[in-house]
């Protein structure tokens, strides 16, 4: 069993980090298919107020354990070669990336299924909280649909 890794990154996940992560897989030539999910902060408008950014917080010890349990479960269910998960903490502006999930396998079918299961599990099972800041200095708490 692997030990729980730290999934969290302070602030937004940069497109350059994502590109580097793809590049690192070019030496793993048994892989024939990657699938990537990127969560981006949406500028929702609610009663004339627009979301400018989200401040993410988490119950980090429990969240890292939950990410670990999800990882183990997805590896047991799907024949994937590797999996990477990164989630932002702190301030992420509208339009910036807050979640980066990356799965790879020899063939396409399994990565399509595994990625969906993985993203749904992250949304449902990991104690991460999002404070949505509006343009008029007020805020509300984000709830996953």
């Amino acid at each position: 069993m692997n030990k729980p890794k730290n999934v969290f990154i302070q602030g937004p996940i940069s497109p350059g980090f994502i590109a580097d992560s793809i590049a690192k897989h070019q030496t793993k030539t048994s892989i024939g298919a990657h699938n990537i999910f990127l969560g981006q902060v949406r500028a929702d408008t609610i009663q004339d107020k627009t979301v400018r950014s989200i401040i993410y917080s988490a119950y980090e010890e429990m969240a890292n354990k939950a990410f670990h349990a999800i990882r183990e479960r997805i590896f047991a269910q799907y024949a994937i070669t590797c999996m990477h998960i990164y989630h932002s903490l702190g301030h992420v502006k509208a339009g910036e990336i807050c979640l980066f999930v990356f799965v790879s396998a020899p063939h396409r079918k399994v990565v399509l299924e595994a990625l969906e299961a993985l993203v749904e599990a992250i949304k449902a099972e990991v104690p991460v909280f999002g404070k949505e800041l509006f343009d008029n200095e007020t805020h509300q708490w984000k709830v996953n649909q």
Partner: protein
């Protein structure tokens, strides 16, 4: 028997309690009893949806709390 409980609050729950952490001493109780106890201190919790984790595991309200457990009140998750 008196238990010392370490309680963590997150998100909108921490806004209501005005703190992210506290230690309380209570008699041996279930989660439901603890929630009632906390709701007396923090009436705003009454209107809030939250789950309770004991030592990083979400437990139902009927579960008993063990000594020196770390409790967390978790509002709806918003990851991703």
């Amino acid at each position: 028997m008196n238990h010392e409980l370490h309680i963590k609050y997150f998100g909108q729950i921490a806004e209501i309690t005005g703190k992210s952490f506290e230690i309380i001493s209570v008699d041996a109780i279930s989660i439901a009893q603890l929630v009632n106890h906390l709701t007396e201190f923090y009436p705003g919790l009454r209107d809030q949806e939250f789950k309770v984790a004991v030592d990083h595991q979400i437990k139902d309200r009927a579960s008993q709390i063990t000594q020196d457990a770390e409790i967390a009140l978790l509002p709806p998750f918003a990851g991703g």
